[in-house]
């Protein structure tokens, strides 16, 4: 059965021990929606901090906000609940699930796999909030459980660093580097993170805004004081293997990258590239892309201390030079 060509609904999960700051992060996402329509599933309705004047409607298991976001309570019907949103005519920008601090994350994974297999959703990012201050007070089983969870996540928010002594932070950063070598870590207080890192649509927009140029245009953009952004656009058809080796290098420097690519072995097919942490997908676009139709565009965002736009730009130029010389026509 071929499903109608449409985008699958991105899902972001937020894991973390009790008290690590998951709800704070949910509140932050809702308050930074900036016109995006997010649907969040949370454990504890009461903990969500919503101003009365921002509320549109309240139902038994659902609060709709005036900004278009919806807050739902997490219950047994999670799968059915998500499926409802995924079948809507106008999709929300993302589903965000606050995974319970105690339940088995594998059970949630199984539900999400099921939705993905049904062609309704795609797992976008697995976030894990880690309480840096509490960590060293936990026993071996609990702290190892947290590290195991971190290892299977895409991005860890090392939270509450404002109250955590520097030496403890350093030790924990080293432990995480050992235990979760394929996971990116970003230090936060009150989960103060730029939501655009978490939610890929933001990067889509960045791609769209990139000025169209005929040949390689590599430029760096300072996004905020914490993050750096690198983006490029090129009319050169990219060699697939060269790009794969470039993509393998990226996670060391950025949290997230996204792009639309034209490969030399299939110039007619635009491919969507999506990198979250160390997890990358490259798949043929499901529907014709109108924007920038004959060029490749790519954007990466990362910590200001690790993402060096000049270096990534240089590496990207190198793969273009190793790619076939035929350029796309306008």
């Amino acid at each position: 059965m071929v499903s109608k060509a449409k985008n699958r609904l991105p899902i972001i999960t937020i894991g973390g021990f009790l008290g690590s700051g998951k709800t704070t992060l949910v509140n932050r996402i809702l308050s930074q929606a900036n016109g995006k329509r997010y649907v969040v599933f949370v454990n504890d309705f009461g903990a969500i901090n919503i101003d009365f004047e921002k509320i549109e409607t309240v139902e038994e298991n659902r609060i709709s906000l005036k900004n278009g976001c919806v807050c739902c309570s997490l219950n047994d019907d999670l799968v059915a609940g998500i499926a409802d949103f995924a079948r809507q005519e106008i999709l929300p920008d993302a589903i965000i699930i606050e995974a319970s601090g105690v339940s088995d994350p594998r059970a949630l994974d199984a539900s999400l796999d099921m939705l993905e297999a049904a062609g309704l959703t795609r797992l976008d990012t697995k976030l894990y909030v880690l309480d840096a201050y509490e960590f060293c007070n936990l026993n071996f089983e609990d702290s190892e459980y947290i590290l195991d969870c971190a290892a299977v996540s895409d991005l860890v928010l090392l939270n509450k660093v404002d109250i955590t002594p520097k030496d403890r932070q350093t030790a924990l950063t080293h432990t995480l580097k050992d235990a979760a070598p394929f996971t990116n870590v970003v230090s936060t207080s009150y989960c103060s993170i730029d939501v655009s890192i978490l939610i890929s649509r933001e990067i889509d927009i960045a791609v769209r805004e990139t000025k169209k140029k005929k040949f390689n245009s590599l430029k760096a953009v300072n996004h905020t004081e914490h993050y750096k952004r690198w983006s490029a656009e090129t009319g050169v058809l990219i060699d697939r293997e060269q790009f794969a080796s470039f993509a393998r290098m990226l996670p060391k420097y950025c949290y997230r990258a996204k792009g639309i690519l034209r490969f030399s072995d299939a110039p007619e097919t635009p491919y969507l590239f999506d990198l979250v942490g160390y997890r990358a997908t490259i798949e043929a676009a499901e529907k014709p892309l109108q924007l920038q139709k004959m060029s490749s565009q790519i954007v990466a965002i990362g910590d200001k201390n690790t993402l060096c736009p000049e270096y990534i730009g240089k590496k990207f130029s190198e793969i273009l030079m190793k790619s076939p010389t035929a350029h796309l026509s306008e």
């Binding site: 796999d113 099921m114 071996f140 190892e144 590290l147 969870c149 290892a151 432990t175 235990a179 070598p181």
Partner: protein, 540 residues
């Protein structure tokens, strides 16, 4: 105690009576399968009725090769899980070990389970010297995820009583330095006896608790019959205690492990088909994931085989025992009338075993011997034909494909051998009654997962390993019910919903025949019945 099951789809796995309306049960046995009128008339007025509410009633699932008690020993605290699923690199494994050692009591015995040359990309063999540096004061052991090998430090060797003067037991491996001193790695039977030292140090309370959890995992997955495929005589006490406590212990077919020809096979029989001695198990070779199997064609020469598994170029492996020694064991226990189950993975090993079976049968013919080959990773088509002619049965460790499919193809054996790895489809093509197994604790117990693996043959990364070997749904279902019952010699009592058999059932939320095969393992297990008793339900 009488029950009528009605109101859903009843999948009997009995070709004489496919989709009846209702099932009648009395005192733990099925007494009628048919129309509502027929079955109801067999029961007295006070019978209980279970309304299936549109769900699916199937015979309880059977895992033909598992290790429930052994699983309890190897899983759960204080065993530290270092499988690649959550501890993705060898360096991460070492750092976890260091963190555990840092909080260890003096002399506390530590075991880490799950080191994996195929799945830990930077895997090296930890040496005794390295482990001494990490843990100078505690006996520690790191067991590979395939269970066949163990790496220990000096304290570990000391508590297990293995040193330069210890002769290597026949069938086992002790790697040694030039002076004969064990250098860190041991493999096969000596691994399992060394581990007993650790398990004993942790005490019985821990083991009993963990055994309860292990039993429960089978029952929750709808598995009502298992095997204890490495039974040792002292296991009896734990089983006895579980039954005395009234725990919902699945039925257990025990296969006692033989490592010599002079073992006394225990004549075991508990309850109404709850635990019995079914036969004798012998390891002819080891694990394809370690390299100690006997092959006609060598392993691929890759980073995984050469550097992480430490195999030499052109490695074709070998069998565990000298052939005469092995032959004597098989002859002895076969002559005593036991069903034999032989662990075989490499094709040359299988040649050796089939040669022996043929010789023994020509000298002392025996009908219905149900000689079993276990796992059968690299069995060839000609060997399947020969096995079928000899009446030899195969039980396939199909989860190898889901868990290690990608490295099996890319790093160990190449596409041709991968396409027929665990050749369940070929065996069925030649008419063999096969069974499938999870070999718990190597992989987690789930009959539906076995079916999914055999139907789709999809590796973790989504690739299919050999379309020709895929099973249809009905055959896959039979291989975890009636055909598995046949392989343990219980087809008259188990494996289908048939009058006269034990009332062991599983109730599923979805139809295995309608479900997308890629989703089979996700079907909810609604309830499990053992001997007519509800032993588990999901609360919905």
């Amino acid at each position: 105690m009488e029950i009528l099951f009605v109101g859903g789809t009843i999948i009997t796995v009995d070709s004489d009576n496919r989709f009846p309306e209702a099932v009648a049960v009395r005192n733990g046995k099925i007494i009628g399968v048919g129309s509502l009128g027929e079955t109801q008339s067999l029961l007295s007025d006070g019978h209980q009725t279970v309304d299936l509410k549109g769900k699916y009633l199937l015979p309880g699932l059977i895992d033909a090769h598992s290790h429930p008690l052994w699983a309890a020993k190897t899983r759960g605290a204080p065993v530290v899980d270092v499988r690649a699923e959550t501890v993705p690199t060898y360096q991460a494994v070492l750092s976890k070990i260091k963190r555990r050692v840092a909080v260890a009591e003096p002399n506390e015995h530590l075991i880490f389970f799950g080191l994996d040359a195929q799945l830990h990309p930077d895997m090296e063999s930890p040496t005794r010297a390295l482990l001494d540096e990490i843990a100078p004061h505690n006996p520690i052991g790191i067991q590979t995820s395939n269970c066949h090998a163990l790496y220990m430090n000096s304290k570990g060797f000391e508590v297990c009583g293995i040193d330069e003067n210890t002769p290597t037991p026949t069938g086992s491996i002790i790697e040694r330095d030039s002076a004969g001193r064990p250098s860190g790695k041991i493999a096969e039977a000596i691994t399992w006896s060394a581990l007993e030292t650790f398990y004993t140090a942790w005490g019985d309370q821990r083991l009993n608790d963990q055994f309860k959890a292990s039993i429960c995992e089978f029952i929750q997955n709808g598995i009502t019959t298992v095997t204890e495929h490495l039974y040792m005589p002292f296991y009896k006490a734990y089983y006895q205690s579980a039954l005395n406590q009234g725990l919902s212990l699945p039925r257990v077919a025990a296969y006692q492990q033989a490592t010599t020809a002079d073992m006394q096979v225990e004549n075991l029989s508990m309850g109404d088909d709850r635990l019995w001695m079914a036969g004798v198990k012998i390891h002819a070779d080891g694990s394809p994931l370690i390299g100690n199997i006997w092959l006609s064609q060598p392993y691929l020469e890759t980073e995984t085989t050469l550097e992480r598994m430490n195999l030499k170029p052109g490695h074709t492996g070998s069998v565990n025992y000298p052939q005469e020694f092995f032959e004597k064991m098989v002859r002895t226990y076969f002559a005593q009338g036991w069903q034999m189950t032989i662990h075989t993975q490499g094709d040359r090993t299988i040649d050796m075993v089939l040669d022996l079976v043929e010789t023994i049968l020509s000298e002392t013919p025996r009908d219905d011997h149900r000689f079993r080959l276990e796992h059968c990773a690299l069995m060839r088509e000609d060997q399947i034909i020969r096995a079928q002619e000899l009446g030899v049965l195969c039980s396939f460790f199909i989860n190898h494909i889901t868990h290690w499919g990608a490295p099996i193809e890319d790093a160990l054996f190449g596409p041709e051998r991968a396409a027929h790895y665990m050749p369940a489809g070929t065996a069925v093509k030649y008419g063999m009654k096969i069974s499938l197994h999870a070999d718990t604790p190597m992989t987690d117990p789930s009959g539906l997962e076995l079916m999914q693996a055999a139907i789709t043959r999809k590796a973790g990364d989504g690739r299919c390993l050999g379309q020709d070997e895929c099973l249809d749904v009905m055959t896959a279902l039979k291989s975890v019910t009636i055909d598995a019952a046949y392989q343990i010699g219980m087809e008259d009592k188990l494996g289908s919903i048939t009058s006269g058999k034990h009332a062991d059932f599983v109730i599923l939320d979805q139809d295995v025949f309608q479900c997308d095969p890629n989703e089979l393992s996700k079907i909810n297990i609604h309830a499990t019945y053992l001997a007519g008793e509800l032993v588990w339900h999901n609360g919905l």
